[in-house]
């Protein structure tokens, strides 16, 4: 299937380039350090927490907080979602922009592939890479599962939230790469859109408005629910909509390449 041939090609390119590995290694290093600090804070407060009837445990204070500082209110900077805002654009910037600048994009078109297959194939490869990154990140808190009481349901919901967030950022990154002629432009655009999508409701929240369209628009609103362990179909639909809109815009732009001067 040609879609999978594009995915395989893109995965190969991601695996042989040092950038992807450096990004993943640095991110996992930061997450490991974050885990050690979160665990230390948890152990320091363990006695106090044990006295609370429904107090938060390892899952709330360590495992879920690995994913986000901004949403979970963790005292430490840069959880996985915040890191992804910075790093996913670096991973996705070359997907189509470098094909365009190297002249290999017309070659892909000449194999009879449609713009949607090229873009979807590339997106799937990015998704596989991000899923692997998430699995490695999940393995850090899960490694203590034998010694602590882990709420697997809550962790699964939070992991789903993190994965959907990564999937949205990946789709935005690939779409920006479809629009840009140079990878750096794609990375900057994806970073700005990702940040805007995550923080668009900050002003409303500071004004005490916690509902309404502006809050619905923000990715953090939907991730917050999932990170609390609640899976709502309305939130999942938001992520799917965001992915579809980003990819549809990317496909439209890519298809225009055959028409352009």
């Amino acid at each position: 299937m040609t879609l999978l041939a594009v995915t395989r090609l893109e995965l190969r390119r991601l695996f042989v380039r040092p950038l992807g590995w450096i990004v993943a290694a640095l991110a996992l290093g930061e997450l490991g350090w974050r885990f050690a600090l979160l665990l230390q804070i948890f152990l320091l407060n363990q006695v106090k927490l044990a006295a609370l009837p429904d107090g938060p445990g390892y899952t709330d204070l360590v495992a879920v907080r690995m994913y986000s500082s901004f949403i979970t209110g963790s005292p430490l900077p840069l959880g996985m979602i915040e890191l992804a805002l910075l790093l996913v654009p670096l991973l996705t910037m070359t997907t189509l922009a470098s094909e365009r600048s190297a002249g290999t994009l017309p070659l892909l078109f000449s194999t009879g592939l449609s713009a949607s297959r090229i873009l979807l194939g590339k997106y799937l490869a990015v998704l596989v890479w991000l899923a692997l990154w998430l699995l490695f990140a999940l393995a850090i808190p899960a490694s203590l599962a034998h010694g602590v009481t882990l709420d697997w349901g809550k962790l699964a919901a939070a992991t789903l939230g993190a994965f959907l967030g990564l999937a949205v950022l990946g789709a935005i990154g690939v779409a920006c790469s479809a629009f840009a002629s140079h990878p750096a432009v794609a990375a900057v655009a994806a970073l700005m859109i990702g940040l805007a999508l995550n923080c668009i409701n900050l002003g409303a929240q500071l004004a005490g408005i916690n509902s309404g369209f502006i809050n619905w628009l923000a990715m953090s609103t939907h991730q917050e629910t999932l990170l609390r362990g609640l899976v709502s179909s309305a939130d999942v639909v938001w992520f799917l909509l965001a992915i579809i809109v980003a990819l549809a815009l990317g496909v439209q732009r890519l298809a225009a390449d055959k028409e352009r001067d």
Binding site: T2, A5, R8, A102, P106, L107, T111, G112, L113, D261
Partner: protein, 250 residues
């Protein structure tokens, strides 16, 4: 009994194809056809519309007007025809610098629907034929220009297409490789492959092509058969069109 459509139709048929680029007509009302086993040389000065024509034939660029048929099927309606019927070597042989020679061929093969033993056989065949075997593990980014060109050609040939579209295929090849390329193209033509190639070199056309088309300012000015002893006549026709065409435009 009716013969299949593809057996009766020319491998490539262009009718009234036109395309504007950078606000001016790059190709105007171009009509030509190519039968199986023919080698058509597309000549023209820089900016004549050769690469635009080949990019449209390869499916990388959509014409503003006109129809392109490959083996009798409307290529614009069914771009997926390119997958098996067409091989394209663009000018400067664009490659993925981070992939090896072998990975390039595997990727192109899979994009063309080859897999398993068919892919292995096709890959090994072109590696051998284009003398790339010793380079198979080398990254494309460190290949010389001539090696890049041979790899680009190998990618275009891998799936044994019925139509081979080559944009300046002899670029950066040394004289020995040029002769090998000519031999290869004649062999492919003898086996029934239709070849359309663009070049600046008249000697290249007379050495390998059995037909020549001359484009000037996007318009087809000459289309005729060619034999090996017609170099002088071709040179005169080409310069008449190129120089007089320019003079008229000025």
């Amino acid at each position: 009994m009716n013969a299949p459509k593809s057996a009766l139709s020319p491998v490539l048929q262009l009718e009234g194809v036109a395309r504007r680029r950078a606000g001016r007509p790059a190709v105007s009302d171009l009509s030509l056809s190519l039968e199986a086993g023919q080698v058509l040389g597309l000549l023209g000065v820089n900016g004549a519309g050769k690469s635009t024509t080949l990019a449209m034939v390869a499916g990388a660029l959509r014409p503003d007007r006109g129809t392109i048929r490959i083996q009798g099927e409307d290529f614009l309606e069914r771009p997926e025809l390119a997958r098996q019927a067409l091989g394209w070597l663009p000018e400067a042989a664009p490659l993925w610098p981070e992939l090896t020679v072998r990975e390039h061929l595997d990727a192109h093969g899979r994009l063309r629907g080859l897999s398993g033993s068919r892919l292995d056989e096709a890959r090994d065949g072109v590696l051998e034929r284009l003398e790339l075997k010793s380079l198979s593990r080398r990254l494309a980014g460190v290949l010389s220009q001539g090696q890049r060109q041979r790899l680009g050609l190998a990618c275009a040939l891998l799936h044994r297409p019925a139509l081979l579209v080559l944009d300046e295929p002899a670029n950066a090849l040394d004289p020995v490789q040029v002769v090998a390329l000519r031999t290869l193209l004649r062999e492919l033509a003898a086996a029934g492959t239709a070849v359309i190639l663009s070049t600046h070199q008249l000697t290249e056309v007379t050495a390998v092509c059995d037909r020549v088309a001359i484009l000037h300012e996007g318009v087809l000015r000459h289309d005729g058969a060619l034999s090996a002893d017609q170099h002088a006549a071709l040179e005169k026709t080409f310069f008449d069109i190129a120089v007089h065409g320019r003079a008229q435009a000025a």
